[in-house]
């Protein structure tokens, strides 16, 4: 039999708790962001259009579908189902969103990211690319932690 030989260190009991917090914070942010966008389908499509990255048909699909992807990932994180796989998907999504904001900033467009509803063009003085990117990097850090330490307390996986 393989037995736990290492003493149950303090670290071992802390890590799953940190993972639980990471999981729930990421879940809350995704569910809030998705819901706020899903309320307003035309606004959501307009927010995607403002990025000027994808053709018109795709703008509609992303504007309508992305909020539900976020809600779905958020619900899975909240339940703690397949945490590592969901964390990988979340990290990919966050990287894509960060890349989109970086591309907007680089092209000199002035828009609101529409991350939590709203979005679309804004006056140049009202862009917040730096804080939007920093916030998404913070979320990416949480997703990264969950890829590394997917086991957490109060999850369906355990």
């Amino acid at each position: 039999m393989i037995t736990e030989t290492a003493p149950r260190s303090r670290l071992q009991s802390v890590v799953p708790r940190v993972s639980t917090v990471a999981r729930l914070v990421l879940a809350a942010v995704f569910i809030a962001a998705g819901t706020l966008k899903a309320i307003d389908p035309s606004g959501s499509v307009a927010a995607v259009r403002a990025y000027e990255l994808v053709p018109a048909g795709l703008e509609t699909l992303i504007g309508w579908g992305l909020p539900f992807l976020e809600i779905g990932l958020g619900l899975l994180l909240a339940l703690g189902l397949q945490t590592r796989a969901v964390a990988i998907a979340s990290a990919v999504l966050l990287l894509t969103l960060i890349a989109a904001v970086v591309s907007v900033a680089a092209r000199g467009l002035s828009i609101d990211c529409g991350c939590f509803g709203g979005g679309g063009p804004v006056p140049p003085s009202e862009t917040n690319y730096a804080s939007e990117i920093v916030r998404d990097l913070g979320l990416l850090l949480l997703a990264g932690w969950l890829i590394w330490q997917p086991r957490s307390r109060f999850s369906l996986d355990s």
């Binding site: 259009r49 909020p67 539900f68 779905g72």
Partner: protein, 244 residues
């Protein structure tokens, strides 16, 4: 072979079988998760398509159904209610702005009362910064005002604010209000008869520095909508009407 070696091999076999079973279960769970996610996203897209492309629901029939044609003048708002009313309420809204729809739901009854009682006239500046549907709806709003059912059309547009506002939907909404909106109205909608006026309203709002909707002025004074309540608005309207 000793019996203990046999036992050890038997245990190893069982462990391997248990591990394989766990692996299979994990794969099934992952598959279920992926399928659920795909169904959720597909269902979400279908739901939004329905919310956007369905026919408008019946427009509310509050407000006087008197068909009084309203003039549409470049750069000037559409006036709903009696033009001689003592109080002027100026409203800057986009027909696709969700906050504007919420605002209408909350304050609509007070605004209708004020129009019906002749205390206030509503000056509507329909801005169109969200999308093409905003502009199409603003144009149709002008067409409806000209045809004489502006008040009801205005309420109908906000009651159905998630719609895309293609020409069919804009004409269908008019049919919910008046069985025969008329050839002139339909042509006005499909040919964007008031496109110039729509541009002039956006320019007028820009010139006034309006950068968020809804924005409301009572006799030229901007009201702070964050702290306003429908009751407080009613009081303000009545006070302004009596001091006139």
């Amino acid at each position: 072979m000793t019996s203990s070696a046999r036992r050890a091999r038997e245990q190893a076999r069982q462990r391997a079988a248990a591990a394989a079973k766990r692996q299979r279960q994990r794969r099934i769970v992952l598959l279920v998760v992926v399928i659920s996610l795909v169904v959720l996203i597909g269902g979400g897209i279908a739901f939004q398509a329905w919310r956007t492309l369905r026919a408008p629901s019946a427009a509310p029939t509050t407000g006087s159904p008197s068909l009084t044609p309203v003039a549409v003048t470049e750069g000037k708002p559409i006036v709903l209610g009696t033009a001689e009313a003592p109080v002027k309420l100026s409203l800057y809204e986009d027909f696709h702005c969700p906050h504007c729809a919420e605002f209408e739901e909350e304050y609509g009854p007070v605004l209708s009362d004020a129009q019906d009682s002749g205390k206030a006239a509503l000056e509507v500046y329909p801005m169109s910064f969200i999308d093409a549907g905003s502009a199409a709806a603003a144009n149709a709003m002008a067409c409806a005002a000209e045809a004489g059912f502006g008040s009801q059309y205005y309420q109908g547009l906000f009651a159905n604010h998630t719609l895309q506002w293609n020409d069919d939907q804009l004409i269908e909404l008019a049919k919910q209000i008046t069985p025969v909106p008329g050839e002139a109205f339909e042509t006005c909608v499909t040919s964007r008869g008031h496109a110039g006026w729509v541009d002039s309203i956006n320019a007028a709002a820009d010139a006034k520095g309006i950068n968020s909707t809804p924005t409301m002025f009572l006799d030229g004074t901007r009201l702070d909508l964050a702290s306003l309540t429908p009751e407080a608005l009613q009081t303000k309207i009545e006070e302004a009407a009596t001091t006139r």
